[in-house]
Symmetry: C2
Subunit: 402 residues, 2 copies
Amino acid sequence: MPDAYLIGAGQSDFGSFPDESYRSLFATAYENALESVSNELRPEQIDEAYVGTLGVGGRQLGLSGPAVTEHVGLDGVPCTRVENACAAGGFAVRQAVMAVRAGMADVVLAGGFEVMTDASSEAIRYWLGVSGETEWERLSGTTFAGVYAQMARAHMDAYGTTREQLSRIAVKNHHNGAKNDHAHLQFECSLEDAQSASIVADPLTLYHCCPTTDGAACALIASEDVVDAYTDSEPIRVAGVGAASDAIGLFQRETYTGIPASRQAATEAYTMAGVDPDDLDLAEVHDCFAIAELLAYEDLGLCERGESGPFVETGATELDGEIPVNTSGGLKSKGHPIGATGTGQVVEVFEQLSGRAGNRQIENPQYALTHNVGGSGGAAVVHVFERDGPRDEGEKQTEEST
Amino acid sequence: MPDAYLIGAGQSDFGSFPDESYRSLFATAYENALESVSNELRPEQIDEAYVGTLGVGGRQLGLSGPAVTEHVGLDGVPCTRVENACAAGGFAVRQAVMAVRAGMADVVLAGGFEVMTDASSEAIRYWLGVSGETEWERLSGTTFAGVYAQMARAHMDAYGTTREQLSRIAVKNHHNGAKNDHAHLQFECSLEDAQSASIVADPLTLYHCCPTTDGAACALIASEDVVDAYTDSEPIRVAGVGAASDAIGLFQRETYTGIPASRQAATEAYTMAGVDPDDLDLAEVHDCFAIAELLAYEDLGLCERGESGPFVETGATELDGEIPVNTSGGLKSKGHPIGATGTGQVVEVFEQLSGRAGNRQIENPQYALTHNVGGSGGAAVVHVFERDGPRDEGEKQTEEST
């Protein structure tokens, strides 16, 4: 099968945009993705498209894929909407990789979008609630903050994790997001801010929860058969892909202190890529709530089970740490426009691996991971990206030891 | 790339089932699909799943793929919801084929479901309306019957197509559906019935419109690397796949007298399969309204542009005709549970090509086509299936001349 390469990625700003539509946001992301390709990619060279969206607001629930590809002039190009709740965008990328590997497309657009900020709080509860389990969670009044609060409480009980450790996620991700022009909440947050904010669902405070955000993001995936036409000397290979599903209701899951689908997806992606977590230079993980980032550290193997609290305290996942996590600001600060989140993670990885990440650039990264979760763990998808090109053997280790 | 094979398919009954849920209907379809495999397929041998649904009713709009695969015990298996309005199921099959060709799965479940009959007429108008163009069609009061009525009127104006020719579609499809135990409307309809029924959207009468239906259907796709383990001597190959998108609003389309996405998808599928329309032994086409089946004849190349009215009068598409179309009863009589329709078409093809279609069995068919349309033509997907095994050269011609 031909390998898949990431040849471009771009996004709209993430934020609250009452004057934009889902189509206009998507068009901005699409145009930025096209412009990011090293050598010119013309729209007529795109063979296929996948679009992730939950459809918050119910405007265009059917054919919402073709609705946006038509808007940017890709009539005729087969476009399929992909949905796995908050992981819709990540699964769109996975389908793009599959289309290339299947020999059914040379260049594939994977996009995602969501418009959320025009909805009432009640509507948002419905539209996010329909990604949880309906009968026993949503209709009994459980919100997503409530579900993740249960996971946080379970982790605290099992491993002694503290609210301050949760708050460190907020501090770190706001610090990174303040450096990202595309982020929704571009401001720093102190440990005191995070600790003293009002409780949303105990133990989670406001700063332990991601915002409601509008936005769109697109990635361009190409076959190795054509990649040389579009990229310069250091193409970015999609080295590993992994995905898994699980019971969609937390109460039916085997554990509250981890997300089995994340672990399964990561194991598959690492195996396909032939890498270990130690090889990673950065990771964009699904931090819809602060506890979710701690769970991700463990599920992705960045630290041992139960050790994520102490791990974040070491600073290892900060911008200048051993394995920077959510350099973009993550869902917490960059924002979480549901369908756009997974493709937005790929935008950050593209910018980091191609050296375009500005004042949040990691030095000479080679391996990057994206991790996108649907619901509270009903689905998860992980990608490992590898920048080809020169890097000395053991360079990562050398950097770490300095 | 390894070829993809259809190793099994099964469905629930299509109809109105107030005592069933989307999960129970899906479970029935899944179990019937498993049982249809010649040699035993165990659930743990399924590597991947795609599920098509529009989500009518808004019960479980997020993670509705994993919601059903979890219910049948496929926890862990990555499941992705695929949506392209009424073509969701057909696109789920296409993704299953792609996963196999990409070498990322050996056995893939492609399913679809919809529960519609518990919704009010107003709710159905909303839920179908969101598959049309929102701003200029749905919100201005256009229904799907209205959109297809415009296509019918345009075809009448351009080619002299008559309402009686539309009615012949209803008569034929009800005749077939009356022989199908799974069909929603298992009764014959006379030409007089169809002609004299009340007008839904001029020129379409009630019998020119498909019903609102509950149901689920599943297909099992396997790689050529493993197909011999599951099938007997005559495996069914997915010989061709084609898909296309287009403007989702009819008013933005280049023509009202054809569906360009259907034509594009069919051309691609024929080319990949190396066959012509003349090679087909049967076709399941998207007859959401009677005019849609006439347009399909032309778009799929079964007859010339503008000739579908006279063509249906020849009887060529009847059960004993040259190229039987909608032997299952089609959307008109078998029913149209949105997300299940495309996979339901594959069930019929599986039964016909494996000689299990009972009193509607076509004699010794080798090539069969499925054609599934999203909205009024915003998306279309076509598959060509080929039964391996003995068939004399020119046999189709011989049969026709007898």
